[in-house]
Homo-oligomer: 383 residues x 2
Amino acid sequence: MSGAAGPGANLTALRSHNAALVLRLLRDAGEGGVSRPELAGRTGLTPQAVSKITARLRAEGLLAEAGQRASTGGKPPTALRLVPDARHAIGLQLDRDEVTAVLVDLAGTSVAARSAPFDFGAPAENALAAATAEVRALLADAAASGVVGGGTAAGGVAAAGGVVAGGGLLGVGVAAPGPLDHGSGVLHRVTGFPQWDGFPLRDALAERLALPVVLDKDTNAAALGLVTAGTAESAAYLHLGTGLGAGLVLGGAVYRGARTDAGEFGHQVIQLDGPPCDCGNNGCLEALCLAAVARGDRKDAARLLGVGATNLVRLLDIDRVLLGGRMVLADPGPYVRGVAAMIAEDSDRASRPPVSVDVVERGERAVVEGAARLVLAPLFALG
Amino acid sequence: MSGAAGPGANLTALRSHNAALVLRLLRDAGEGGVSRPELAGRTGLTPQAVSKITARLRAEGLLAEAGQRASTGGKPPTALRLVPDARHAIGLQLDRDEVTAVLVDLAGTSVAARSAPFDFGAPAENALAAATAEVRALLADAAASGVVGGGTAAGGVAAAGGVVAGGGLLGVGVAAPGPLDHGSGVLHRVTGFPQWDGFPLRDALAERLALPVVLDKDTNAAALGLVTAGTAESAAYLHLGTGLGAGLVLGGAVYRGARTDAGEFGHQVIQLDGPPCDCGNNGCLEALCLAAVARGDRKDAARLLGVGATNLVRLLDIDRVLLGGRMVLADPGPYVRGVAAMIAEDSDRASRPPVSVDVVERGERAVVEGAARLVLAPLFALG
DNA sequence: CCACTTTGGCAACAGTGTTGCCAAAGTGCA
DNA sequence: TGCACTTTGGCAACACTGTTGCCAAAGTGG
């Protein structure tokens, strides 16, 4: 069962690693750019190595000069910045009643978007056809407006069977309700939708679209959006919608667990002998929290969510908590305040540094845009 | 606050990485050894690269041939095995009333051990002197019996100021009750022992012993013992002693959290408005569990521990749960059975693969020997 | 105006894993 | 018994990495 024991590294892997490191720093620096000496300092590489790496990246069109910085006593440094248009990725979100697709650039900025009604309960083939059509329509929109096609012809990923003129399309990241297997791209038994159990969604989509496809849980996709710098920080995305789940960023990477099934935040028991939950246990956080929402008591729902979040913070030493999902986005105030207050109270008592609590950025779009980042992540050595 | 963004990799790092990979496979293979072709297959490196790497390691004395394997239709492969005696490490456990020290070889096998009464509440300087004396005595024992000193003179780490004749001593791993900062090696406010708050234990010991020192929480040290192969498996070590804590192995590495403070398993709330806990919250698992132990109801204690463990398994997709700590080791049966039953029941309902639940191997020694592994871990790219 | 610092490229270098080639040492079939 | 075949593992040449040494360009500051 032990199989391969972690990848052996060769020179190619080394180059990719360092290139990804540099790209990540450039992406996080944004429009302002970063100078070569700064890149050298942040990566620990020699200035000369950075020069070589950036020269290669510039040849691939991923990188451009962004003017001169002020001198600090010598020759003024040249700022380098990411060329966002050099590559693009598609994010696809399959929700219970809606399908959403976005086209994002290297910086993760959305440049085109579409959504349509969707029936997750339809036969798999029909649903798949609808999703595929949505992606094709998005690409047609983008081609018409000339957004895609500007990238260099280099880069390896060829045009998608004539769907897009020109290169630069890296693939499709798909976010779906869990549980599912990220490694194999197969859906498991989604509550209420048994027809998907065992369906190889990733490969089916990849074949139809002739593009690389990555599949992950919606909560993990949103969590990926939280991974910013290469710091080893930990964050949690808590999603309160039809159910209650979490996406975990631990040590600077999305944590999926051995069977890529981690994040069942909603089914932690927080009340012994509490009311029964659909899962078969008693006193699950999800059951309590959704019941509070159902009876319109947002304050109590927030308190319950706060108890769960505090457990999470203490157990995993989390730095940042982001809230999302329809229930929260409909009226974020009480949830953010309630959860923040409970965590802050606990942190004070334990004399632990404060933990930030916020609504997830770009609320409704957090999951789709995160899905697109599933494709971009390898470029930046994130994930 | 972003500082350095992950290390840039150079050729030296590449070599260390691959060497560590090979050493790890050899360690896990044990006495039987592994053949070069098998190493190549498991690492993904070319056979020729493996030959070069193993030749280097053999020159350093870390590796030896271990006879021939049966042929599979051609020249019979030569098995290679780790030379456990080539290097040694010390593990030091500071407990509330006892100090324990062990000397282990590269394979993690204990070759010498000592323990003595200890007063963790004594002034820091006195306690430090006692711990130092214990390590010196252990080294004297080992030198007298000729255990240490057989290693090659090469390897960088010189003799510890005359304490040990000959080289091969890599350093000291120290396990102490949390909370503490693994990165800086400084203790925080240990409940009931305020004199340690802010004490730089790692540097103080390193200076007195003239050896590299690594400091970590006792639960993390024990968890490190669970990291075996390079698989991305996840495991949890649950420690029920004076308090209730956890050491987490996530994705094949010990998870410490941003402030190296993760694992506060005992202070998750599992009963809303339950009895108050010392930490200020109500219904903490630790308070409930210790109360059950105090009134002699091991069955209920096991049930409560099972609730917490099930929460952990669902949240983090854990494969293996190991139980330890004085309370459990005094009578493991009820705890193992109780926790196993609760997790199994939940896994069945969720049609998830079974999770193994056991007492931690080598019970009383799990923490000290894990502490020694803190020093060995970098050699095998574990941690 | 000149000494000094910082930036960033060119050329030579050390050292990695890889490829091509080949000898050694078995198995298995005619 | 003989011979073709497979597997093992080392030697030499190679492609490519980041590093070092050197130097020109372009600023600052006395």
